[in-house]
């Protein structure tokens, strides 16, 4: 029923909550809510809420990148966030979300991984864990905001005798960019951003676009069961680049 209503409204050029098509819901970012983590943040877009925590551990570098730290992104769709989420290992949607955030962070080169070596054979491993607290639509954009917000307040732990000394820090994580993800949705031949829960069900296809501070695109992923026309992509990129500046303001 809700779905039909959302669809009828979109056809008339309106949205359920009266927003403009290119308008996000209210965005809020809380930095550092979890002191146990080396960095943390809770991002909310409307009622959607995602916590990101950064934990840093010591480990061996990958053989093909001996002088670089390691970035690992995980996502958990906790059952607290939606009646549709089940406890257990992450499903394909959680895995896809984590991997898109991972690619956005990695390909934007926002973290200077080459500054994360600790000794000859030890590097810092940066774990970014995304924990969905409330799913009310547009989890991906919210998760990417939470991840970068958490990274922006992440401190590097002190290492003593080859071990991390928890609670003592030597400096900040070297973060040189703040990439954001803007998911541009297509419904009824119109483009919109930040779908609410009801709208998400009527969106035919979605192009999630990772945008760096300098406007470079670092990741894209088409989602949804619909298709895109070739001429759509340029328009979706323009909208994503435009909105990315606005989202990044919340990370300042």
């Amino acid at each position: 029923m809700q779905e039909k209503y959302a669809l009828e409204l979109l056809e008339m050029g309106k949205r359920v909550d009266g927003r403009k098509f290119e308008e996000y819901r209210e965005i809020k970012i809380e930095k550092g809510p979890v002191q146990k983590a080396e960095g943390s943040a809770i991002a909310s877009i409307g009622k959607t809420k995602v916590a990101a925590g950064v934990k840093i551990e010591l480990g061996e570098p990958f053989p093909d990148a001996p002088n670089e730290g390691i970035l690992i992104v995980n996502c958990e769709f906790s059952p607290v966030a939606s009646p549709e989420f089940e406890a257990g290992p992450p499903g394909e949607d959680a895995i896809e979300l984590a991997r898109i955030v991972d690619r956005t962070l990695r390909e934007s080169k926002c973290i200077q991984l080459d500054k994360l070596t600790v000794s000859q054979d030890k590097v810092f491993i940066v774990f970014v864990d995304l924990h969905v607290l409330n799913d009310h639509g547009n989890l991906l954009d919210t998760s990417a905001l939470a991840a970068v917000a958490a990274l922006s307040v992440t401190r590097l732990p002190k290492v003593e005798d080859g071990q991390i000394k928890r609670g003592e820090y030597t400096g900040n994580l070297p973060l040189v960019y703040k990439p954001v993800v803007v998911s541009v949705c297509k419904a009824c031949s119109k483009f919109l951003v930040d779908p609410d829960l009801e709208e998400e069900d009527v969106v035919e296809s979605k192009l999630s676009i990772g945008v760096r501070d300098d406007g470079k695109i670092c990741a894209m992923q088409k989602q949804g069961t619909g298709t895109l026309k070739f001429e759509d992509v340029g328009k979706m990129l323009d909208l994503a680049i435009l909105k990315s500046k606005e989202l990044r303001n919340f990370l300042a």
Partner: protein, 239 residues
């Protein structure tokens, strides 16, 4: 995606001798498996994808059935000996994501609403991986579905594009893929001119993305012709 120092282009030629906008040699066969309802093997250079399609068949357990529509299930897997370092069998995060995006790449071409409570299953095994495995797999999956006699709106054709040594190229091989500045996978329904899969990572500006999309479209159309040809040949044989 990190080492840009590797020389991938010399005098305008790629390490396997190709020009930037040139596909590798492509081979396609359909009906290669006797137990599957439809099957295909597709080779892009050294990359080999084998696809089997089953169905429409009744979906079990029953609680997974949809009253009003059938479902499509796709599983992508790299076999253990398909890569340099043995890949342990079973699904990992990458293959779970790829299975999902491949399903979404094929679904727009299907009439799933014609098969309530049923499933159509497609299994794609990568026998040898030398870059562009997901798109090779999509080409094989689409042929397997068509050769199973499943009614389709269009075939799905796919190819990869990307940027190596600051040059935009088509159909990345393994070494290019590992050392690219950017890569992008595109699938489309060529006669409808609609994109069903679009994934990109790296560092590109808008104009580069649009140029690469055009490369992908042109080459998907070439691949589409090969797909139609191999199906027609097979159909003649069966008469």
């Amino acid at each position: 995606m990190n080492n840009k120092n590797i020389q991938l282009l010399v005098n305008g030629k790629r390490i396997d001798g190709r020009l930037p906008e040139q596909l590798r040699p492509i081979e396609m066969k359909v009906g290669v498996l006797s137990r599957a309802d439809g099957s295909a093997e597709v080779r892009f250079g050294n990359t080999i994808a084998l696809a089997a399609a089953y169905g429409p068949r009744e979906l079990f357990p029953r609680f997974l059935q949809e009253e009003e529509t059938g479902i499509l299930r796709v599983r992508y897997a790299m076999v253990p000996f398909s890569v340099d370092e043995r890949k342990s069998p079973g699904s990992d995060r990458r293959s779970i994501e790829l299975s999902k995006v491949m399903r979404l790449a094929l679904e727009p071409a299907m009439f799933l609403e014609d098969f309530p409570k049923a499933t159509i299953d497609v299994f794609v095994d990568i026998i040898q991986a030398d870059g562009s495995t997901r798109v090779t797999g999509i080409n094989a999956a689409s042929l397997a579905l068509a050769s199973a006699g499943v009614h389709m709106k269009d075939l799905v054709a796919a190819c990869s594009v990307g940027k190596i040594n600051n040059t935009l190229v088509v159909d990345l091989n393994g070494i290019e893929d590992n050392n690219s500045e950017s890569d992008m996978a595109v699938a489309m329904m060529p006669s409808k001119n609609e994109i069903t899969l679009l994934q990109m990572d790296g560092e590109l500006d808008k104009e580069e993305i649009l140029t690469l999309l055009n490369f992908a479209r042109e080459n998907c159309k070439k691949i589409y012709e090969l797909q139609k040809q191999v199906l027609k040949e097979k159909y003649k044989e069966g008469e």
